[in-house]
């Protein structure tokens, strides 16, 4: 391109020179004309003098018949002198004229020669220019880029063929500002303004924008232009190249998107995520890991992460990595330090390796999932299942035992059936209470008492009935292990009262009073007082099972102190046993 530019300025210079020669020629011609005018004027004067010289003496002779010969001779000689001077002047002038003419001819010849020479030069240059222009165009069609040229004002003057092939614009369309019509509407305004800004500043121009193809689809291009400057450093014109970067840019964009998605996923998920090289050498840890463990990313790199593991689990973690290198997925079940709670929590760590075509590990991508709650729940569940097993089997044993005892105490099967029915119902009620406790409710003494009494008599809201008065603090909690036996004992007291005691006749009355005896070991004291029963001893033998429960089972099993006696008005029983305390 600079070559073509040199040629163009060379032509301009030659044309200037031609112009100067032409002006010089015109000046010379004018000078010639002036000389010719001078000569003509002198010739005219000469002619006039000659005529005067010839005609003068004749007229004088006619006027003066006898002119003095001497005066005439004087005049003639005077005239002759003038004539001679004039003639000499004429001769000088003529010589000058001839010289000027000769010089003019020479100048003309020189001028013609030089014009001819310059014309030849110009033709040569033009020919060379055409040749180089042709090879330049050939080059522009060879490169995949679109090439263009603008004038110093940023108006497009030329586009290479490939531009037209791609955009489908006609030859004139992109010139001036028409190129912007092919730019994506979203990019157009900025492309135009940045281009004009570059033109104003005279610096290079670079921009990525979308250009519409002849098929109507847009592709991404990189435009790059540089100004061509004159000797004074002023941009004379611009040359630009437009490179298709679509696939590259789309690829990059896809990569960026996938990177964003990865980050979003990784930083949004509850798992702690990390990347590692083979051998468990971490290269990256997610923000969650850092926040969770309190271990910086720096400190976690390489095998620094191992320090977040429970000391007892570190060997296992290392062994898991050794196995993973042998081609298996990585699995670590171990405890990881939780900085906020200042304790270790159970984690399940899994990682898979990304491998290249040769099967070499590129990197490991791993997640560590907090399974502590699950582990705790599992442990809790195991405890519950074991507890349930224990309780069920124990209950079966109790049922068996109660049944045998009832059988022994029954006079016949009818008696047995009634008795066993009630006792099993009492056991069932206790199970109901205990299962309610598992829903988060503690079993309290008042609850147990009301439950048992209401199985025999209709109680009001406060737990009283016409023949029953109860009195004592609510909310005295019972340990779960004592509820069953205690309930069975209360059942025996109640059922005996209904069958033989205070609740077996209209004159009877039952008072149940209790209090909490505070101290280092809180104790519950219950007094069961029956009134209005005078024939109690008649049925005393029937209550063997109940008495055994109260007098032997409660002390043995619950560490209770009990008294059971037949007073003059009926059964008097007191039970004092350790409890958990009031409320919870």
């Amino acid at each position: 391109m600079p070559m073509a530019l040199d040629r163009a300025s060379e032509i301009a210079r030659l044309q200037d020179e031609n112009e100067q020669l032409r002006t010089a020629l015109e000046n010379t011609t004018e000078e010639n004309t002036r000389l010719i005018e001078d000569r003509d004027r002198l010739l005219l004067r000469l002619t006039a003098q000659v005529r005067e010289m010839t005609v003068g003496p004749v007229s004088a002779a006619a006027e003066n018949s006898a002119p003095p010969e001497s005066a005439a001779r004087e005049r003639i000689s005077q005239t002759e002198e003038e004539l001679r001077v004039t003639f000499e002047e004429l001769q000088v002038l003529t010589e000058e004229l001839e010289a000027a003419n000769t010089s003019l001819h020479e100048m003309n010849r020189e001028l013609d020669r030089r014009v001819e020479e310059r014309t030849r030069d110009i033709e040569n240059i033009n020919a060379a220019l055409r040749a180089s222009e042709a090879s330049f165009r050939a080059v522009t069609e060879l490169v995949p880029d679109f090439l263009w040229r603008s004038d110093r004002n940023g108006q497009m003057r030329w586009y290479s063929k490939r531009w037209y092939e791609y955009t489908g614009q006609d030859e004139q369309q992109p010139l001036g500002n028409g190129w912007t019509e092919a730019i994506h509407p979203a990019d157009r305004a900025v492309s135009r303004s940045t281009w004009l800004a570059s033109v104003r500043q005279g610096g290079s121009y670079q921009r990525e924008h979308r250009i519409r193809g002849s098929n109507g689809e847009y592709r991404w291009f990189l435009v790059h232009a540089e100004p061509v400057k004159n000797d004074r450093g002023e941009p004379m014109q611009w040359f630009g190249a437009i490179t298709d970067i679509h696939d590259h840019r789309i690829g990059l964009e896809a990569l960026r998107q996938s990177e964003i998605r990865f980050r979003t996923l990784v930083e949004g998920m509850p798992q702690l995520v990390w990347k590692a090289m083979d051998g468990g050498k971490w290269t990256w840890a997610s923000p969650q890991w850092i926040e969770y463990t309190g271990l910086s990313e720096e400190a976690s790199r390489m095998i620094g992460w191992l320090r977040a593991y429970h000391p007892d689990d570190r060997a296992h973690a290392k062994a898991a990595w050794a196995k993973a290198e042998a081609g298996q997925p990585l699995r670590i079940n171990g405890r990881i330090w939780h900085e906020k709670e200042k304790r270790y929590r159970h984690f399940q760590t899994r990682a898979a390796a990304a491998r290249d075509d040769n099967g070499h590990v590129i990197e490991w991508l791993g997640t560590s999932t907090d399974v502590d709650d699950i582990v705790q729940l599992q442990e809790h569940q195991q405890v519950l299942v074991a507890e349930l097993q224990h309780r069920t089997r124990n209950l079966m044993a109790i049922v068996q035992s109660v049944m045998m005892r009832t059988l022994r105490g029954s006079s016949d099967l009818k008696d047995f059936r009634t008795e066993i029915d009630h006792r099993l119902a009492a056991l069932a009620r206790v199970q109901g209470l205990l299962s309610r406790r598992e829903e988060g409710q503690r079993v309290t003494f008042d609850m147990l008492l009301r439950e048992e009494l209401s199985a025999h008599v209709a109680l009001d809201e406060r737990g009283n009935a016409p023949q029953v008065s109860i009195s004592g603090p609510d909310g005295v909690s019972l340990r779960s292990g004592m509820v069953q036996t205690f309930a069975l004992a209360l059942h025996e007291l109640a059922t005996n009262a209904v069958k033989y005691g205070a609740l077996s006749r209209p004159s009877g009355h039952l008072d149940v009073n209790w209090e909490l005896l505070d101290g280092d070991h809180p104790r519950l004291k219950v007094d069961w007082l029956e009134r209005g029963v005078d024939d109690i001893t008649a049925n005393a033998t029937k209550s063997g099972y109940g008495r055994e429960l109260i007098e032997r089972a409660l002390p043995f099993q619950l560490g209770a102190k009990t008294e059971y006696e037949f007073g003059p008005e009926g059964v008097r029983c007191s039970i004092e046993l350790p409890v958990a305390g009031a409320g919870h």
Binding site: A386, R393, A397, S401, V402, G481, L549, Q557
Partner: protein, 128 residues
């Protein structure tokens, strides 16, 4: 009724459920044993063992929420044979007691007597 004779051997019953403890006591007595206890908690059980004179023991595993294994350790330390009577499945028994005979509730005292007899006899033989 039975050809099992525990022959006056002193057997400690550790069981917190009164009725079950009583049933065991009764039936072991029927088999000729001299029943010690029953006791309902670890503290009483260990006190009994340290007093001495026990030939064998039967242990409930869960005593009012308290596990009986420290009692088992004490028995083992003294070379006294014992068996577990439990509602728990095997996984809740520590590995070190994997070889200890276990009877599941509801318990048949006769099974227990059959189980205890050779243990008691072995102990007698090794002692003599």
């Amino acid at each position: 009724m039975t050809n099992i004779d525990l022959n006056g051997r002193r057997i400690l019953v550790v069981e917190d459920e009164y009725f079950l403890a009583e049933d065991l006591r009764e039936e072991l007595s029927d088999c000729g044993a001299q029943v010690l206890g029953p006791v309902a908690n670890v503290k009483d059980a260990i006190a009994f063992i340290r007093t001495g004179g026990i030939d064998a023991a039967v242990l409930d595993i869960n005593l009012q929420g308290e596990l009986v294994f420290s009692t088992a350790d004490e028995l083992r330390a003294q070379g006294i044979p014992f068996a577990f009577a439990t509602g728990y499945d095997r996984s809740s028994v520590p590995q070190r007691f994997a070889d200890v005979p276990r009877l599941e509730k509801p318990l048949k005292a006769r099974q227990l007597a059959e189980l205890l007899q050779p243990l008691v006899l072995d102990k007698l033989r090794s002692a003599s």
